[in-house]
Structures are given as structure tokens and as C-alpha cells.
Amino acid sequence: AQSVSQHNHHVILSEAASLELGCNYSYGGTVNLFWYVQYPGQHLQLLLKYFSGDPLVKGIKGFEAEFIKSKFSFNLRKPSVQWSDTAEYFCAVNTPMNTGFQKLVFGTGTRLLVSP
């Protein structure tokens, strides 16, 4: 079964520090990859996605992620974090189901705290 691993459960950074959150997935076929963010008290929002093409994808709020097929990875990066980036970050992979439809398989999430 498809699985997604996020290695860091909690990350604490100071403002202006660089961020990299790891994500690895297990499925060997064609994948669509996503990073969602959940700010305190808010819903899951799409940060960025990879479907095909350039493996370096740029999302909102200065985030980017790199798809490395050989490593089954889709790490999230931001060169300089802000206090407002404090949130929980979820990596997810689109997985085909028997009916041909999709479901998202999520990682456990990484809780990021940025101190001012």
C-alpha cells in the first residue's frame, strides 16, 4: 500500500532561517504530489503540487519543493521563514484506487514553529 513519510514531526526555527521538510513516498508508479498547510484554526490549504514537468515546483508564500524520482522524495523548502509560517505541513500523494478514482494518502504532518 502507498505510504508517505515525513521525517520531522516538530521543527522550531527562528525567523529568517531556512526550512527544509522531508517527505518520502513508497509508490513506484506515476504520482502526483502535494504539500498542504494548515494554519492554526484553519483548514487544509494547498501550498504547491507536482503533476509532471519541471521537478522543481514553486508554490505560494515563497515555498518550493523538489521532486526527486530516484529518491522517492518531495521535500519542501523555503529560504527564509517568517513567524506567519507557523503551521502544520502535510505531504500527500495521489493514489489510484480500484475504481480508477484517486484518494490522497497523507504523511503524519510536521508542526513548524517559527519564533520571532
Partner: protein
């Protein structure tokens, strides 16, 4: 920008009671989903729905659960007889014209079963 909405935001119920969680997907979307997140655990897929029927469901989605699209806008999740372990955040999501498009999530309903 269109959003998925969910009501209520919080629900507290007694074990054995029925609850209905409501979602209004984005208006021109065709594919609908429910996920749940038990506190401290992963977001898990429950069910997908297309063309007025369930297209896929997980092993979590047993006979106590049902989904319905009673009119052109609402999408509901019913839990017939709640158990303590049903306490979780329930998220609705929808996708547009293609089954493999990006899923957009609602704010969630936090369900507490006592």
C-alpha cells in the same frame, strides 16, 4: 475564490447518537471526499463520491457511515451510532471536472463523542 464549507465547526454528541456532518463543495466540482484525522494521527481517506454514488470507500467506512448528496449543493456524512473512537476532525474535499485534479478541503468539523 470559491471554497469548500463545512458545518458545524464543532459537534459534541453522546455515544450511540446519530450525527450528520454537512459540506458544501465548490459549486462546479463533481468529485467529493470525506477524510478524518484522529487527534495526533494522519489524515485518513474515508470515502469518495461521484455521480450520486460511492466510488470507493476505506475499511474505516463501515455500515455505521453513509454519505448523501441530498440536493445540488450539499454533501453529507452520517454516522448512525457514534462510538468514542469516532472522535476526530472530519474534512470534506472536492475536485473539479477531472477525477485526478487537486482536492480542495473544507475547514473541518471537530466531532467529540462522549
Amino acid at each position: 475564490e470559491p471554497e469548500v464549507t463545512q458545518t458545524p465547526s464543532h459537534q459534541v454528541t453522546q455515544m450511540g447518537q446519530e450525527v450528520i456532518l454537512r459540506c458544501v463543495p465548490i459549486s462546479n466540482h463533481l468529485y467529493f471526499y470525506w477524510y478524518r484525522q484522529i487527534l495526533g494521527q494522519k489524515v485518513e481517506f474515508l470515502v469518495s463520491f461521484y455521480n450520486n454514488e460511492i466510488s470507493e470507500k476505506s475499511e474505516i467506512f463501515d455500515d455505521q457511515f453513509s454519505v448523501e448528496r441530498p440536493d445540488g449543493s450539499n454533501f453529507t456524512l452520517k454516522i448512525r451510532s457514534t462510538k468514542l473512537e469516532d472522535s476526530a476532525m472530519y474534512f470534506c474535499a472536492s475536485t473539479g471536472q477531472g477525477a485526478w485534479e487537486t482536492q480542495y478541503f473544507g475547514p473541518g468539523t471537530r466531532l467529540l463523542v462522549l
